[in-house]
């Protein structure tokens, strides 16, 4: 039994080391069986983490629940943003969560890296605000010189901690490999772009509380955008992503746009190295490449969700389906919906 275990471990290790997919930690989202990550031993058992990430896990166990929620958030948001595309961010139950789709340096990979780095920063920040973490804010860059810290000058924003954690946890893989490979550069860039999507869209809110509530005294703070908005921003960046190649300038290697006509990308833009496949057909050699057969499409649309594009010219079949829909519902703000059932027939188009 132990032999088998060792073999499996070695296999897994090989698998981890060989694949260039640094987003394996997203597999955390699938580990519902583990329950809450409470002690250091659990860290060892988590699949998908590289050794350095396990160390981080051990060092800050309390954050790992938030990281897992972040992974889940990233996958959900990816699936929402790509719901109408040929590749709809479908996940597998096995180890590379997105199969091999994101192993190449495609746009989709860029998106996945960006959204996952952002989601960790987001989830950790939220966990800070809800009091789950003890290390937030006050540990890092307290802007008062006094040792009294919180009492003297308060703590810094939680987002600083969230972003710092995301940097250390998500980027660690690329960093450990060194900055040499172009793929590592691309991943690091996209991770940072994802975090920037939060940071540069924090909105400032202010409250006046001077004499009689006048603005003589005003306190402002930065509030995190909802994650849906972050997803939308990164999706926009995905649509305008820049194809880059690695070039050596001096001793450092940098990514520059492949087409020199294009203006150079900014810190907030996504970059990719390889053009994406068309995602039209199922490819058994590429896990996660499910193809568009059977996907629902929009007959009237000319965009990517339209049947023309979605079905890659294979055509589609239409069938009339009777759908039981909810109608004239009564909602409460939470947890209660009372609806009538309405039956209606709709035309459904599915790709051949």
């Amino acid at each position: 039994m132990t032999e088998e275990y060792v073999v499996r471990c070695v296999l897994m290790l090989c698998c981890v080391l060989l694949s260039a997919n640094a987003s394996n930690w997203l597999y955390l989202a699938k580990l519902s069986s583990v329950g809450s990550i409470r002690d250091e031993e659990t860290c060892e058992r988590l699949r998908g983490l590289i050794q350095r990430q396990v160390q981080i896990c051990k060092r800050s166990v309390e954050v790992m629940d938030a990281v897992r929620r972040g992974a889940q958030l990233a996958i959900d948001e990816c699936q929402f943003q790509f719901r109408n595309r040929r590749w709809n961010c479908s996940t597998l139950e096995s180890m590379p969560v997105f199969g091999k789709v994101v192993t190449q340096g495609t746009r989709e990979a860029a998106f996945v890296y960006a959204i996952s780095a952002a989601s960790v920063a987001f989830a950790v920040t939220r966990a800070c605000s809800s009091g789950e973490l003890e290390k937030c804010g006050c540990d890092h860059n307290v802007h008062g010189t006094s040792p009294e810290g919180f009492q003297w000058s308060g703590c810094s924003d939680n987002i600083a901690y969230g972003v710092a954690f995301s940097q250390s946890f998500v980027d660690v893989r690329e960093r450990s490999k060194g900055q040499s490979s172009s793929r590592a550069l691309m991943n690091l860039h996209n991770n940072e772009a994802g975090r920037k999507a939060i940071l540069s869209h924090m909105h400032v809110e202010c409250k006046c509380h001077g004499v009689s509530g006048s603005c003589e005294v005003k306190t402002c703070w930065k509030a995190m955008p909802p994650f849906r908005k972050v997803g939308n921003i990164i999706k926009e960046k995905f649509d305008g992503a820049t194809e880059v190649e690695q070039r050596k300038i001096g001793t450092t290697k940098v990514l520059v746009p492949r087409n020199s006509q294009f203006k150079p990308h900014t810190d907030e833009d996504l970059v990719y190295l390889d053009p994406s496949p068309d995602f039209c057909d199922y490819d058994p050699r590429t896990p996660g490449m499910l193809g568009t057969v059977g996907r629902q499409c929009n007959r009237t649309s000319k965009a990517i969700d339209g049947c023309e594009l979605m079905c890659c010219g294979r055509g589609f079949q239409t069938q009339e389906v009777e759908v039981v829909d909810r109608c004239s519902c009564k909602f409460h703000w939470c947890c209660y919906v009372k609806c009538k059932q309405c039956h209606k027939t709709v035309e459904m188009h599915n790709c051949r």
């Binding site: 937030c136 006050c138 802007h143 919180f150 003297w152 703590c155 809110e205 009689s212 519902c329 703000w333």
Partner: protein
């Protein structure tokens, strides 16, 4: 008898007026006092005809009066003392006039140093004034149906509640909305609140997701069942502090189109004022919030799909409080001492104090009232009314300051008008030949004007004359006081109360604020009108300038220049103040300057506060009666010694040196005698 000038009838250079005009410039007024009367000298060297090096005429007329005879010097130097007396009549012989330029410069520099110190204390030592802390409410499940004692739900730590992450989870577990309790523990783990935080206010924000079929209805009200508890150590039981049902209006808008594509996006909702406590006497606070649903009463129906409740708590930073207290503790005795000193000087005079002197004292008192660091008690005692008390103190000071400006301005304005009328009427300006113990008809004439003036003075030396101007101030601040009582006064009883939450309350609050605003507008109209009148006087004089004798023209030009200069300085100060205010509002709150972090907001608060104190200090110091004025009458003999001849040739030599000028008291006596005779 000597010939005397009548200092009090001369136009004030309106040092007050122009300083006052700009309400936003409060801060600059103290600067203004550094600049304006003292250190500035008008030197107009005039070379006429052939004779180059004529004797320099040094006109030092502290009384503010210089009636020039038509004789004139070739070169004419007006020292700063030449400036016309800012206080007509009453304040003649104030320290500001009798002090040498050097001393005044020293005083100015010392005050400026203190000012810079005040800024630096805030910018370099103190942290930012306030801190905002984010909280995300934890969703607890209240499983027990009916219980006797209230249970408190802890979001984390030992004895934490049964949590759910999302409401989808609740849906699956069939948990009802009424069983969900949002729990927030203030502060975050491993921290403690402290009474140094002075106050705490909490803002509520709902994260509401858009759903096609579950949208927020127009004018939706959310009813919140909230309770607040405290404890002072981590193990003891929670003690209830307040419990209330509150209603808040949800004003949310959805920025994108309301299509099913955009489901799941969040509404953008306004911040809701939630709680305000005037003292932070306990270490730990716990908020339990429920959003009960009652369909029959239409409570909490149609408020959309709430995803989360976020709170932001704002408190003053302990470090800032300490710096602030230190400043207050230091400033209180300084202002108190100068105030006592000032009033002693007033009472030492033979005449009763005039209105302006009383107003200055009142200003000093209100400043001391603000300064007294009663907040020290809030460290030891749980005085929730401290916030309200602070508001009242500030309000009193502001209205006192505004009244002071208007009265100061008014007194000067009348002086200006009188002077203008008088001097024009005379058609000729005569040099005061003091030191000559002869009575001329000039003095007789002068005397009659002075007696008129005296009558006028007694008439306007009453507060009731200013009812038109002071009325709006009093009424406006009274409105704001009522408003403040309605908001912060009620919050003493119920920390969750907000006047803005109800329709009637909002209208009432708006009414108070609008009335106060109208009063403020009225006030500034009056003030502007007064300044306008001063300017009109100036332009009136200007038209008659060419017809005047050279000396007189120079005198007027100097006067006008001084007033304009003052306006310029004041406006510059105002602009600086406004800019600084804007910087502190717009800027993120701190600047990095090398390795140092400069807290702009704190610097603004301490700097402005220090400035006010220095302003009041400077007024009381500089406008206290000079001791040269009372007491030794004999020594204050000479007014102007000069060889001002009777010749009326414009280019004749004039050497006028005023060795000393005493206050008007003597003049009145003279006039009195004159009248008797």
């Amino acid at each position: 008898m000597r010939r005397r000038c009548a200092p009090h009838v001369l136009p004030a250079p309106a040092s007050g007026c122009s300083g006052i005009k700009l309400s936003a410039t409060r801060s600059c007024d103290s600067w203004f006092f550094f600049f304006f009367p003292p250190p500035f000298e008008v030197e107009s060297q005039e070379q006429s005809g052939g004779g180059g090096g004529g004797p320099t005429a040094r006109v030092v007329s502290a009384g503010g009066c210089s009636l020039f005879s038509s004789t004139l010097s070739r070169s004419f130097v007006a020292r700063r003392d030449f400036s016309l007396q800012p206080f007509p009549f009453a304040m003649a012989g104030a320290i500001i006039e009798n002090m040498s330029t050097k001393k005044l410069v020293i005083v100015g520099v010392i005050l400026l140093l203190f000012q810079a110190f005040a800024f630096m204390v805030g910018g370099l030592i103190a942290p930012s004034p306030t801190t905002a802390v984010h909280y995300l409410a934890t969703k607890c499940v209240d499983t027990v149906k009916q219980r006797q004692e209230t249970k408190w739900f802890m979001p984390w730590g030992p004895n934490q509640c049964d949590k759910i992450r999302t409401f989808d989870e609740a849906m699956a577990k069939k948990i009802e909305a009424n069983n969900i309790v949002f729990a927030v523990h203030i502060p975050l783990p491993n921290k403690e609140m402290s009474s140094w935080f002075q106050f705490m206010l909490v803002i509520l924000q709902f994260d509401i997701a858009f759903r096609m079929h579950n949208q927020i209805k127009d004018g939706a009200l959310v009813t919140i069942d909230v309770s607040l508890a405290y404890r002072d150590d981590t193990i003891s039981k929670w003690t209830e502090m307040a419990h209330s049902f509150e209603q808040r209006k949800l004003s949310c808008n959805f920025t994108t189109t309301k299509t099913s594509e955009n489901e799941g996006r969040h509404y953008e909702c306004d911040l809701l004022p939630f709680m305000e406590v005037g003292s932070v006497a306990h270490k730990y606070y716990l908020l339990n919030i429920r959003l009960p649903i009652n369909e029959r009463k239409n409570i909490n129906v149609g408020i959309g799909e709430i995803k989360d409740i976020r709170l932001v708590s704002i408190h003053q930073n302990g470090g800032f409080t300490k710096v602030w207290f230190a400043m207050k503790t230091f400033l209180t005795p300084s202002i108190l001492i100068i105030m006592i000193w000032y009033w002693r000087r007033i009472t030492l005079m033979s005449r009763p104090p005039v209105l302006l002197e009383k107003v200055i004292l009142a200003l000093g008192i209100s400043m001391t009232f603000i300064n007294i660091p009663v907040e020290w008690f809030s460290i030891g005692f749980n005085w929730t009314w401290m916030l309200l008390f602070g508001d009242i103190r500030q309000g009193i000071f502001y209205s006192m300051l505004l009244s002071f400006w208007i009265i100061f301005c008014g007194e000067h304005l009348m002086g200006t008008r009188l002077f203008a009328a008088w001097s024009l009427e005379r058609g000729q300006v005569k040099m005061c030949e003091s030191g000559l113990p002869t009575i001329t008809e000039l003095v007789t004439e002068l005397g009659s004007h002075l007696t008129n003036n005296l009558q006028d003075q007694t008439e306007r030396n009453r507060l009731s004359v200013y009812w038109k101007q002071v009325g709006p101030i009093v009424f406006g601040s009274f409105c704001l006081f009522i408003f403040d009582m309605c908001e912060r006064g009620v919050q003493l009883k119920n920390p969750f109360y907000s006047i803005w939450a109800s329709e009637v309350g909002t209208e009432l609050a708006m009414a108070f604020i609008i009335v106060a605003g109208i009063c403020a507008c009225l006030y500034f109209l009056f003030l502007c009108f007064m300044v306008f009148q001063v300017f009109r006087n100036i332009s009136g004089k200007r038209t008659s300038l060419p017809a005047m004798s050279k000396a007189r023209r120079l005198h007027y030009e100097g006067l006008i220049f001084r007033f304009k200069f003052l306006m310029l300085v004041t406006l510059t100060c105002a602009a600086m103040t406004v800019i600084f205010f804007i910087i502190s509002q717009v800027n993120g709150g701190h600047w990095h300057w090398g390795e140092h972090t400069v807290q702009v907001n704190s610097a603004f608060f301490t700097g402005i506060y220090g400035m006010w104190n220095l302003y009041v200090f400077a007024i009381m110091f500089l406008y206290a009666p000079s001791h040269k004025r009372y007491g030794d009458e004999q020594s204050s003999g000479q007014c102007i010694t000069g060889d001002a001849g009777a010749n009326s040739g414009e280019d004749n030599q004039l050497t006028t040196t005023i060795t000393h000028v005493d206050g008007p008291t003597e003049i009145y006596k003279m006039i009195g005698k004159e009248a008797q005779e």
